[in-house]
Subunit: 300 residues, 2 copies
């Protein structure tokens, strides 16, 4: 591809580096989280990842369920892709006993699916405060209890649970685990082959001492996810993530820390953003590959 | 006031407690930050605070500057109000030498104004990342350096600087100090009569271990500011604060911790919110007084 013909999305700016071609060794660890190309079906996302020369994909339970677990598994296997993560388990901060039992049941199903897909981890998004409940410590405690309950089930199936600390912007409604330090305080209560942590730049870039916490995490890092923090923050905070390089995050620094911690897994790009979703998905993948080889891969 | 005739703003729901009347001892420590009633001039805010029976007001430099420091000082003194805080100093994370000198000069002027107004503290909003700069650690380091440079000037004038840790939602563009723990790590490098911390519920409610950090803060707490974290987050994140009780924050828990830490100062209500600003200011003050005596004051 000729550099000056490629355009980055969603910025619309000319690409500053050539798009790495399939077979480029720099793409070896890049994974497309399928929500980055939300308009693509699972089949299209698999095909798109392969066409771009990727070797891994991050899957979500809902689109997997739509085609059926067996079909998804065979599609991914036939395409030669690794499943870098399955999103998501969690949402187990509910206090109502019936809702809690349902949440645990759903998480066991997610563990089964992660095992079938040979996913590197099942991402756990802890969940927020129940409606009307202001006991944040209680919700956090219930998240720990739920993980404790799920660990034996996950271990039996060889699935590593990945606690995802989330930017405090989501503490009320999605994720009560707010820092990598806190996620490690929880994770370290369990064997490292059973419970790890997800390092997501969007969630953690601001955390004081985050590079020390990444070092502490060491082999508990089960997933490294990259996207940017952009300002002004988009209207819908759930869609606030930006393409790497479009915002304020220092990817070389965080990536170097993750590499120094000994992480050897895939690097997933997970971007929820209306402008990214409105762009042609193949251009999203091409931009993501360019930004990755520029800002992330050299520091792995 | 008859309870069932009062309506809370901006929720529009019936008030659940009577509005405390002027002279009610429960109002003794309640302070109106003038930005909560943004449509009021300084004169109107002073009159509105007095009419509601308040004894303190939190001021901003710009409206003070509009009427002149001497006028503002005499208005506040004649009204018998304490100045619970002056907003704001800070924005000293700039790296350009000329901009840095200007920022320090502006902060010295703010210290002079805080001294003249006998403000309990000058609130320091550290500032964000310079444009295009992704070195968060560097920006944080420059904030510490600036405080170190300002401390002697503040001490000579009897002004306590109040570092305000800000919700990470603002880490990129307004406040690189993101947790109370981090603010204390900075503050403790200086004498406690010179540098303290602002405990603002909106910024800190999610922080893991925040009650322990409040205990650690002890006599460094120079201001306690209350407003709520509401979801969905309003479109403009700068205007994302809610009236106490309308969101997810546990005011009894945080207030009890602040009281146990030994804080005896005023409790300021600072709400940036378009719906609050669109409501009649006297109704805002009445709602704020009701919510305060219900959710905050009993725990002081």
């Amino acid at each position: 591809m000729i550099v000056d013909q490629a355009v980055d999305v969603p910025s619309g700016l000319p690409a500053t580096v050539p798009t790495p071609a399939p077979g480029d060794p720099r793409l070896a660890r890049l994974s497309l989280n399928q929500r980055t190309t939300a308009s693509w079906s699972l089949r299209e996302a698999i095909d798109g990842a392969v066409a771009a020369g990727l070797n891994a994909i991050g899957l979500w339970r809902e689109p997997v369920g739509e085609v059926g677990l067996d079909t998804a598994r065979s599609w991914v296997a036939d395409a030669g892709l690794r499943v870098s993560s399955l999103c998501r388990g969690g949402f187990f901060t509910v206090s109502d006993p019936v809702e809690r039992a349902a949440a645990l049941s759903s998480n066991r199903a997610a563990i089964d699916e992660a095992a079938a897909l040979e996913a590197s981890t099942l991402v756990l998004v802890p969940g927020g405060l129940p409606a009307g409940d202001k006991d944040l410590a209680g919700a956090r405690s219930r998240a720990v209890d739920a993980i404790a309950e799920l660990v034996p089930y996950a271990q039996e199936r060889g699935v590593r649970l990945g606690i995802e600390p989330m930017n405090p912007i989501y503490a009320a409604d999605r994720g009560v685990v707010s820092t990598l330090a806190q996620a490690l305080d929880i994770g370290e209560q369990f064997p490292s082959d059973a419970v790890g942590v997800v390092v997501d730049t969007f969630h953690l870039w601001w955390e004081p001492g985050v590079t020390e916490q990444i070092r502490r995490a060491a082999d508990r890092i089960v997933s490294y996810q990259v996207c940017d923090w952009i300002t002004p923050l988009p209207v819908d905070t759930l869609l606030a993530r930006g393409m790497m390089g479009d915002g304020h995050i220092n990817f070389p620094e965080l990536t170097s820390a993750v590499a120094a911690a000994g992480y050897h897994g895939d690097v997933e790009v997970e971007i929820f953003n209306a402008d990214v979703w409105a762009a042609p998905p193949d251009q999203v993948v091409a931009t993501m590959a360019r930004r990755y080889v520029e800002l992330v891969e050299p520091y792995l």
